[in-house]
Symmetry: none
Subunit: 200 residues, 2 copies
DNA sequence: AAAAATCGGAAACATTTGGTTGACTTTCAC
DNA sequence: GTGAAAGTCAACCAAATGTTTCCGATTTTT
């Protein structure tokens, strides 16, 4: 949050105003509230808040301020390292973090980031080198892409299908075979909630 | 890593201040809190903390300290709307913004976000509903995925191949035909630099 | 003990932020 | 259409804040 005191005050006022009234304040009302005689001062504050991503306006439209639905919400979550088919997570030397925008974060619970090695999920359009955001949890619905720990040894990224007392871990790649294991040998560590890819 | 006692005190103070107030302290406020008369001392502490990776600042910007563990490099860039094969960008009423982590931002120049409609880039592993970050520029290298404006009318997302005086705009989807056009009819608006996908 | 790093003070300087005034434009209800 | 309400914008100024330099004291390391 890199706002100045004044900018945060203005933002707070707008937030409260919209909550109370259901519509956004005019610039004059904002100015009046702060005892400022100048609309331009407010205008520039709104500009600043807009470029920083805290709100949106329609040009020339009266009372068109909307608070950013994404609230510039960002959280830094740990980047643990690589995950590949059939390999343990290679612990990374200095556990970095990566800032992730709110829309791509897990809705509930904690999360972390892994970088994908290999093309085992290629048919799910997850590529070698992609970053996947994982929601930490121990259960998954059939068909979800999970980080699974097998025999307390190997961590893999696969699609999850329970089959009676067994579990099928299915790569999304024709050329790779599914693993079918007793449920007791598989522990789910998390579920993929989003994918981020950088070209070049 | 190896912070001095003082540096840790300063860092702790900043952390608490941001938690309490929602914005970062000015150097004067930090100095006042420690009973120090020198802004330079604070400045150097901040320098030290920054080079050691505990925080980030924008040069010359008031109250621009951000703790590293928070959203380090994140910028809110406009979310213009949808792009599909052969359709103009549907101008969105009030352009929202979406915060994007620095590693996924264009390295040079401005950027914006579009949401992909349709499966025309599916073989590039860009799916219906994915968000693509676009670097605004007017040239592209062969094979890059570009946002192209055809005849000043239609905007499409395609792979770009110049062929003499012509341009081939190639969907990454077997079932779709490439467009081959005189270079004069095609204007490149930007190049895809990253892809973000949210499941569910 | 010497050298290097760190810490603190004071002042000058540069940039950004916050504010004023006033003219202009757009939107919208009548 | 017309006019009021609301938003846009330029020029200009003041205040707040961040940057830098010069200097000396203190602490840590070698």
């Amino acid at each position: 949050m890199k706002l100045t005191r004044r900018q945060k005050e203005v933002l707070d006022f707008i937030t409260r105003f919209i909550e109370d009234n259901g519509y956004s304040p005019s610039m004059e009302e904002i100015a009046a509230h702060f005892g400022i005689a100048s609309l331009n001062a407010i205008f520039k504050h709104l500009d600043a808040l807009e470029t920083r991503g805290y709100l949106h306006r329609d040009a020339n439209r009266a009372r068109s301020i909307q608070l950013a639905s994404y609230g510039a919400g960002v959280e830094a979550i740990p980047l643990y390292g690589y995950v590949a088919a059939g390999r343990p997570i290679e612990a990374i030397a200095s556990p970095e973090t990566m800032p992730i925008p709110e829309p791509f974060l897990p809705k509930g619970g904690k999360g972390y980031v892994l970088q994908v090695r290999g093309d085992s999920m290629i048919e799910e359009h997850i590529r070698d080198g992609d970053y996947v955001v994982i929601e930490s949890r121990e259960t998954a619905r059939p068909g979800e892409t999970v980080v699974a720990l097998v025999d307390n040894e190997n961590v893999t990224l696969k699609k999850f299908y329970p089959e009676g007392g067994r579990v099928r871990l299915q790569p999304a790649n024709e050329t790779l075979e599914p693993m079918i294991l007793d449920a007791g040998r598989v522990r789910i560590q998390g579920v993929v909630v989003s994918v981020l890819r950088r070209y070049h």
